[in-house]
Amino acid sequence: MKARSIILDKVRNSKPSFIPLDDIKYSSMVCRTDRNNWWSQFRALAETVGASVIRLDSQHDFQQFIDEYCEGQAIVNLYHHPDAPTLMPLDNTDLALIQSAVMPAAFAVAENGALWLSEKQMGIRVLPFICEQLVLVVNEREIVANMHEAYERITGDLEGFGVFIAGPSKTADIEQSLVIGAHGPKSLTVVILGNGGSDPA
């Protein structure tokens, strides 16, 4: 506790006089994102950061895709079975054997190709990082223009952990050569469910 009060006192005595902060007006920004075209912009950016993006128009197509994509693999599908993790007794060694994980993303960001997942969507925090192949599913309507809008959506979301994921795990630490699959997934597939995808009605 001593360190705490000493640091706070020093900060109090050294800080400059108060500088007010105006509210930041994101809406005043010039924004190049064309609102009608968010999903194609999202797709372009997600591909730039190394993800593959497919668009499917019905639940049936989606199910077919998952069946083909994951055939014969150790897979956790949280899209159709959100309770799956609580049913599985998983220790670290078991988790490391998971080949594919499918999970819904809450929303996607057009300006950078990122998707937001909170604990609710990933079940176990390490799951989107430890699997070899990650599939994230997002509804076409759940795309926001930029990070300002993204944080507006997150505000009030009181979950313990959340992450923006943009592309698969990557590194360029050896001579700046880009290598995909540093520690986490070697691939990220983003499935965009078009109109009618998530609610066929």
């Binding site: 360190a3 705490r4 640091i7 706070l8 020093k10 900060v11 109090r12 800080k15 400059p16 006089s17 108060f18 500088i19 007010p20 902060l21 105006d22 930041i24 994101y26 920004m29 010039v30 190049r32 730039t48 950061v49 670290n92 490391a96 300006e111 190709g113 990122a114 176990i124 925090r125 390490v126 990082f129 430890i130 930029n146 990070m147 300002h148 944080y151 997150i154 979950e159 313990g160 952990f161 959340g162 992450v163 923006f164 943009a166 592309g167 795990s169 990557k170 590194t171 360029a172 630490d173 050896i174 001579e175 700046q176 050569s177 290598v179 699959g181 540093a182 520690h183 986490g184 997934p185």
Partner: protein, 456 residues
């Protein structure tokens, strides 16, 4: 005495092709940053906002620290305070001991470098494995990182291959980055799975929610933090921002400034520990409050450690990060390090051309080159120069303050350059000519030319 920047740069410059490669690679990253920034029409507005948010936070830092602490504790995070590097190391060692752990994994944190945490833990018999690939490479070589974002940028793949062959048993002579990265992946996966305790840095801490954000491309911070039972995050007190919505500004700027990516692959927000797990956060001062009290240098606390000022700096690019002999190299390190130890780091504010390129790229608009210039004045006042530099500065002052002496000296210098170049070209007398060619001396000075031709 510790070697100085100029001597260490000379060592780096000895390998000319390596120096060229280093220079070109960093310039290429700088260009990627430019393209990325130009894609955002509101870029300048974002920089201004980032700078304003930080200025406001610093002016109210005690309040935000307490607000953060309160919210973090309410979230179930254990908060610790450290006045200096020694306390930071002791707190972390204490948590490791309490948990009865002897091996830990650590993702990138420049603060733990600044505090020399690895050495401290090693002395206590605790094994620390750095999990960022670049950091793991330099750790296996027993070297410090040479860049805050690209820790192994001073190495070619052949050197990495040799190190991996010796330490990880990879094939001799296989220099393929894909092969080497996959070997590191397997090696580090084992460590992640066994690890009981993980240490990470903090990119941003949010006062109004008590959460903190960690950005990586590899996902190594998450692999460590989520697999281990205990997560310790080390954070400098300047990392705070007031509210979550401000993250929108910083997450747009950080990766674009660092590597030109639109965002890092993972931007992770830690708010509460997972069930049955623990998160500790260590709030570290280590000279930051002193910097806050100095008007001339306060702005350097806005730094978000993107590395853009490194990549653009003509001196950094040609002298290599290790020549700065401190944890944080480059232009910003040359401002921060004299605050930690003026005597040992008095050479660093001189490792700059003051061209201002660093200030131009800085996403939080720190007046980097002006602060370097200010440090030079402080250092001159405190007489932290060698005798030769003091004398030559006095001579320069005399020459520049008298037009007559200036003209005479100029004429003499041109005569010497034309007729007796060896006098000046001797590198032992004039270090300026190291790695440089001689200019050809003009016959007349500009003044003489102007007197003749000026009235045309």
């Amino acid at each position: 005495m510790k070697k100085k920047h100029a001597e260490l740069a000379e060592v780096f410059n000895a390998d000319e092709s390596m120096t060229d490669w280093h220079d070109e690679t960093l310039w290429w990253i700088r260009q990627k940053r430019d393209r990325s920034a130009h894609n955002i029409p509101e870029w300048e507005q974002l920089r201004q906002w980032a700078s304003d948010i930080k200025a406001h936070t610093l002016s109210n830092l005690d309040y935000y620290l307490e607000e953060f602490e309160r919210n973090a504790i309410a979230n179930g995070i254990k908060v610790h305070w450290a006045r200096d590097a020694a306390e930071h190391n002791a707190i972390i060692a204490g948590i490791i001991r309490e948990n009865g752990v002897s091996r830990v994994v650590k993702s990138k944190s420049m603060l733990t470098e600044e505090c020399h945490l690895n050495d401290h833990l090693k002395d206590l018999g605790i094994e620390v494995v750095d999990t960022d690939l670049g950091e793991r490479i330099v750790q296996l070589r027993d070297e410090p990182p040479s860049h805050i974002v690209l820790p192994a940028i001073h190495l070619k793949k052949e050197e990495v291959s040799k190190t991996f062959h010796q330490k990880l048993g990879t094939e001799l002579g296989n220099h393929d980055p894909v092969y080497l990265t996959s070997a590191a992946r397997d090696h580090l996966r084992e460590r992640f799975i066994e690890a009981e305790l993980a240490i990470t840095g903090v990119n941003f801490a949010v006062a109004n929610t008590g959460e903190f954000v960690v950005c990586t491309n590899e996902g190594n911070a998450d692999m460590g933090a989520h697999l281990a039972k205990v997560h310790i995050a080390a954070m400098g007190i300047e990392k705070l921002i007031p509210s979550q919505k401000h993250l929108g500004v910083f997450t747009r700027l950080l990766a674009r400034s660092a590597t030109g990516q639109p965002i890092t692959a993972y931007t992770s927000h830690f708010r509460t520990p997972a069930r049955g797990r623990a998160i500790h956060i260590v709030l570290v001062d280590n000279g930051r409050s002193r910097l806050l009290g100095q008007e001339d240098f306060r702005n350097s606390l806005k730094c978000i450690r993107c590395g853009a000022c490194f990549n653009t700096c003509p001196v950094y690019r040609r002298s290599g990060g290790h020549s700065y002999h401190t944890a944080i190299a480059g232009p910003i390190g040359s401002i921060l390090s004299p605050n930690l130890d003026l005597k040992a780091n008095a050479d660093l504010p001189f490792a700059s051309t003051l061209c201002g390129s660093c200030s131009n790229v800085c996403p939080v608009k720190i007046n980097i080159h002006e602060q370097l210039w200010k440090w030079r004045q402080v250092i001159a006042d405190k007489k932290q120069f060698g005798l030769f530099k003091r004398l030559s500065m006095r001579v320069t002052a005399t020459v520049l303050s008298s037009p007559f002496v200036y003209r005479i000296t100029g004429r003499m210098a041109r005569w010497v350059l034309r007729n007796w170049p060896a006098m000046i070209n001797r590198k032992s007398i004039n270090p300026w000519y190291k790695q440089r060619e001689m200019p050809e001396a003009p016959k007349e000075s500009f003044r003489e030319w102007y007197v003749k031709n000026g009235q045309l």
